[in-house]
Assembly symmetry: C2
Homo-oligomer: 408 residues x 2
């Protein structure tokens, strides 16, 4: 099956090397798709790590083990397998992960708990241990590769390679953050719903790195949805090598901590948007701005009810300013709302205010806006100070074709 | 736009008249579709009524008023407008409903609170009062019509007419229940998500009728979903004329009360299934049986997470026994589950048991089962006594065509 590149794709940015980070790729052959499918990232001794993981009750062994080991705060390596998620594979799946951890730890002479493993692909097939072993051995001896090669290798149904970068100044030193991400379907927020990795040369205390990552995640990866389906393997890890030589950040009071936290959030937001831009079948990138809700959390839940509504998403696909479907989605969200205070707009034009269609509503600029690739939906609840922004894509024949017309 | 009759359609059953109930239809012209669009049902004096309504925070005036008036327990008439939902229309929408109630109450010389009104169709356009007045006047003078004519007239995007019947014996007297329903899109459970009306000649105390209807609703209309989108106008009303002459039922201890409650549940289940069979774009009718959950409520939430998952629904559309997507949906449901006790089957064949694919899993009978129109998915959590059954349809190109390719 040939899938065309998303019309919302963005070119891979020019990301510089991060001191203390080396990326390598190899071909383990998990799937017969004639490209590299194993990514190995080596991290200098002393690298801090933080992570956020899927809340799925049926998560993979990779997620279970990673969630435990991230607590120590130290990492030396990351291995990402593409083509097999190793989820729902019982003890055999767990053995494969532990084998990879031991193999890399032996090579680096580090505790195996400092080796992080992710896998993405088909559910229910144990990761073949022989292929994993040969793939890891090949990767350990491979030449270093570019960020784009690493981004391409962690991808599965992705139609373009996704990366982002940002910089910040900490105590006069410029530090750099680089991120790569994969994801296109089974994308719904309950953490991250994809695999994402962020690397920085900043020196950051693990606990503070976790605090910054959790905060950034809440307003970025947890505010996107493609199809409301939450993966069993979602993982975002942040690694800080400390090679930039700044004095290690340990709290928001430290000089440069705000700048670092902002830059991390910026990279997370960029990566999250790229996942939506590669949503299965996506033709339009939709921003839903919710204001006037009872609280920020309530605004986020209302935003996600809109962004997950098949009827709203198909209306946008059809370039139809069907604000009645937005009313429906607000109504079903289960959050405080007053029908007679609700206002809805598209592309900066209000279509309905205070619970009624506007008499002088000018549909022409809205129709023009809906023909574009970037769609803005505004919803004001009129009952409180809560606000949130969520991002999604439209629901098209392409989604059905990718997920129904071809067998797994 | 021509929409073909659902391949899952069932013929309209042979439903006898219900003593004390007269149905009439007329053309109000709410939409330019050249058919009757106003249904008027007259009920004999002394008729009991019960109702369940959408929980949408943005419900229509019809729902607000009906929810209040059903508390009195008495009904003399029902008016259903098709082609305009009158939702999100502020005070003008409310005035139109009150005008209809007053017009019919004047004709019947009854309190206007005993006239129930429902409307279905486009959101955000006030129901035109002149058309409503002329339509009601025409209906009051029209000849009585058949159940199928009434079912056809309440429909909007429905592709076939939907009705059901059942009988029960109460104290030696046979009583009859007749039901009609409309609904095809914007179907998700939070009550009923469509319009449904059930009429019986049994004598039933209003409070007990409400108790029976609420109980039946919980395991029927609240266990179906087409697209996870909850309508602003959903309503199910049950009317009991008492013309059968049984001694009125007032509690489950009364003779025949169990038989009546069973028959009511039977009609509700039949009507709920018909809505799924007319789900927008539906090609397959899917039954999800969840067992071994912590509680019945938990089982229902897990069942609905599966039934609402676009990835599960597209897998069934593609006739793909992709049980990994079922694992994903169980995992995202937010309910207690133990990955290593989870079992999943299709058409009576287990594909995975206790958290792992079955080594001797025979895919051939499953593949054959998935080619059919009636698909059974079984999920056993293995952790408790909770069970539930939910019903849905697959997600196909037809759904996208109906909702995206054409403008509202």
């Amino acid at each position: 099956m040939d899938i065309e590149t998303s019309p919302l794709a963005q070119p891979f940015p020019n990301i510089p090397p991060i001191a203390g980070v080396t990326t390598r790729v190899a071909r383990a052959g998990y799937k017969n798709w004639g490209r590299c499918d194993l990514t190995y990232v080596e991290l200098t001794a002393g690298t801090s790590v933080a992570g956020v993981f899927t809340k799925s009750a049926c998560c993979s062994s990779e997620v279970e083990i990673g969630r435990d080991n991230v607590k120590s705060g130290h990492a030396r390596a990351l291995v990402v397998n593409a083509g097999n998620s190793n989820a729902f594979t019982g003890y055999r799946g767990r053995e494969a992960v532990e084998q990879i951890m031991a193999q890399v730890a032996g090579h680096l002479e580090c505790p195996k708990e400092e080796v992080f493993v992710s896998s993405t692909g088909v559910i229910g097939v144990p990761l073949p241990k022989d292929k994993a072993e040969a793939g890891v051995a090949a990767a350990l001896n491979a030449a270093p590769c570019s960020w784009e090669d690493a981004a391409a290798t962690i991808g599965t149904t992705d139609t373009f390679n996704k990366g982002a970068m940002a910089t910040a100044i900490i105590g006069g030193k410029t530090i750099t953050l680089a991120g790569i991400v994969k994801g296109s379907g089974m994308i719904a927020p309950d953490m991250a719903t994809m695999l994402g990795y962020i690397f920085t040369d900043a020196a950051v205390d693990p606990a503070f790195l976790q605090r910054c990552l959790s905060a950034a995640n809440a307003s970025t990866f947890n505010c996107i949805t493609v199809d409301s389906d939450t993966s069993t393997s979602d993982t975002v890890l942040a690694f800080a090598t400390g090679a930039a030589g700044n004095s290690a950040l340990a709290s928001y009071e430290d000089d440069g901590a705000d700048a670092f936290a902002s830059a991390l959030q910026d990279v997370c937001r960029q990566l999250a948007h790229l996942v939506v831009r590669d949503g299965e079948g996506a033709q339009k990138f939709i921003t839903v701005d919710v204001t006037g809700a009872q609280s920020d959390d309530s605004a986020q839940r209302i935003g996600l009810a809109i962004a997950n509504s098949p009827l709203v998403k198909t209306a946008i696909a059809g370039e139809d300013a069907n604000w009645g479907r937005v009313v429906m989605a607000v109504g079903k969200a289960g959050e405080p709302a007053d029908r007679d205070k609700l206002s809805i707009g598209f592309g900066g034009v209000w279509a309905a205010k205070d619970g009624q269609p506007l008499a002088d509503y000018d549909e022409a600029p809205v129709a023009q806006h809906l023909k574009g690739r970037e769609i803005d939906i505004a919803v004001d609840l009129g009952i409180g100070p809560g606000r949130a922004t969520v991002w999604t894509c439209d629901l098209t024949h392409g989604y059905i074709s990718i997920n129904a017309d071809y067998r797994s």
